[in-house]
Symmetry: C2
Subunit: 312 residues, 2 copies
Amino acid sequence: MPNRRDCLLGLAGLLTLPHALAEPAPRRHGHLIAVGGAEDRERDRLILRRFIEVSGGPQARLLLLTAASGDPAGAWAGYQSVFAELGAQRVEPIDFRTPQEANDPAAVQRILDADGIYIGGGDQRRLMSVLWESQAARALHLAFHLRGCCIGGTSAGAAALSRQMLAIGEPALRPYRDAVSLDIGLGLIASAIIDQHFNERHRLGRLLSALALRPDLLGVGIDEDTGLLIERGRAIEVLGHGAVTLIDGRQMRSNVREVDPEQPLQMLDVRLHLLPAGTRYELVDTDPETPAPPPALRQALELLVRPGPIRG
Amino acid sequence: MPNRRDCLLGLAGLLTLPHALAEPAPRRHGHLIAVGGAEDRERDRLILRRFIEVSGGPQARLLLLTAASGDPAGAWAGYQSVFAELGAQRVEPIDFRTPQEANDPAAVQRILDADGIYIGGGDQRRLMSVLWESQAARALHLAFHLRGCCIGGTSAGAAALSRQMLAIGEPALRPYRDAVSLDIGLGLIASAIIDQHFNERHRLGRLLSALALRPDLLGVGIDEDTGLLIERGRAIEVLGHGAVTLIDGRQMRSNVREVDPEQPLQMLDVRLHLLPAGTRYELVDTDPETPAPPPALRQALELLVRPGPIRG
């Protein structure tokens, strides 16, 4: 009976992926790191250090994907020396300006071979307009799901990790329906909407606006210099120096369908969990010495660590 | 058997209140209006209009208490013409600069005789340093509890309505223990901590900081030009143009006792209710046609409408 990997490799073949996948590295089960932007590149650099570590260390094949940026060369220049200082020896930029470039077989193969891919900031709409239904996006899925490649994203790169992506968001003192519009992201996280620069730019109002439209999803607000590390199906950890705000509106009652699109919303019984850097929760093989999350948080975390289906 | 009012009048006598209370007006059961500051004085003036109305209309005896302000004459000037334009015919300023003045029998009698008292903005510490344990503060309690006098307060005047008052609060991107210090307020609201200019000044972090210290209390964040009307024991309504954010941390788990005072706090399972202007909930004699609040909100509202004990 074929196992899951064989099936997916077969599927990849059917979809005319250009080359075979490299052998999966052992003992890696796929990490995502969603970073709220402005991660430290000068002092302790906790987030980038951890990205290198979970990607496999100094010898890991790392890519900096600059497709969200209007200045890809500048984006690469901003990371190149930092990665070098942190000991990463095999880091390269990768960029796509057009959907055609995102189907280029050589570029797609570089993604398939990578141990860690870091998606830089810019505009998540630019990123998705290039990657949407591309072979490069499929390769990101295969690398993550099959080889356990670590995929990090900062700012726009974080917003695009989930299936439902906050495409446009107005500053909103209070939530209202037209404050945001949603679009499709990379889909590596199944059930969340991610917002970045969260407390620094006072984005609770706009994230609540998004949850009013999609109360089935978790709201994930990530501060600057803060990373949410998700170990697929297993654990979460908050890296860096700020906090992650988890907002769970699955039992919420709102009036979003009854009021005008610019009218402030009523939102009742929203659950909020504030997780500062240093927070770590394991959901499997839990250590009996470690405090378990309260049930409401555990339910939210179980949703958060669940990956999206493979787009292979 | 003496009724509650007789007992309290007796108590007032023991406490050497200077004069008898005026007869209670019929059918009033005591309203509080906590206003988040910057209430409209030029356009529809919904909040001040409603203050006059629940105080008894154009003939109501109204006082503007300016003791929180560093410029009491200016504070009075800012309201005098507005009240006049709204048809209130019997409005006067009342001010105390010292605790001695707040024990002046004539001034105390004016409070006892009032139908509505509006506490202006400024600094809640200034207000309480003058009113603390004064006859004027006792008179406020007696007027509210016995005569159903309406007591409104804006900004600092709103913060001081509750028993636990946010005395000092730093801007806080994220909650931490030393962000706030609490002190004793007027105690007309038993179980809340009120913060004002709430969304405009991005005060979620500091209100959460306060709730980490006092998770037994409700956090009440009131936006500018927004009033929370509390009908004692019966109902709440949101006036004006913004929203009231209710934060209920009674089932929260936080690490406030374990971390350094400036370290960001972990706060898990906080309930949040966002109530825009126009929201009204009745807790007694409810109309079966009106949607009932969800149970989590109802529990919070039951706490909110409960008055503090009389300081008579």
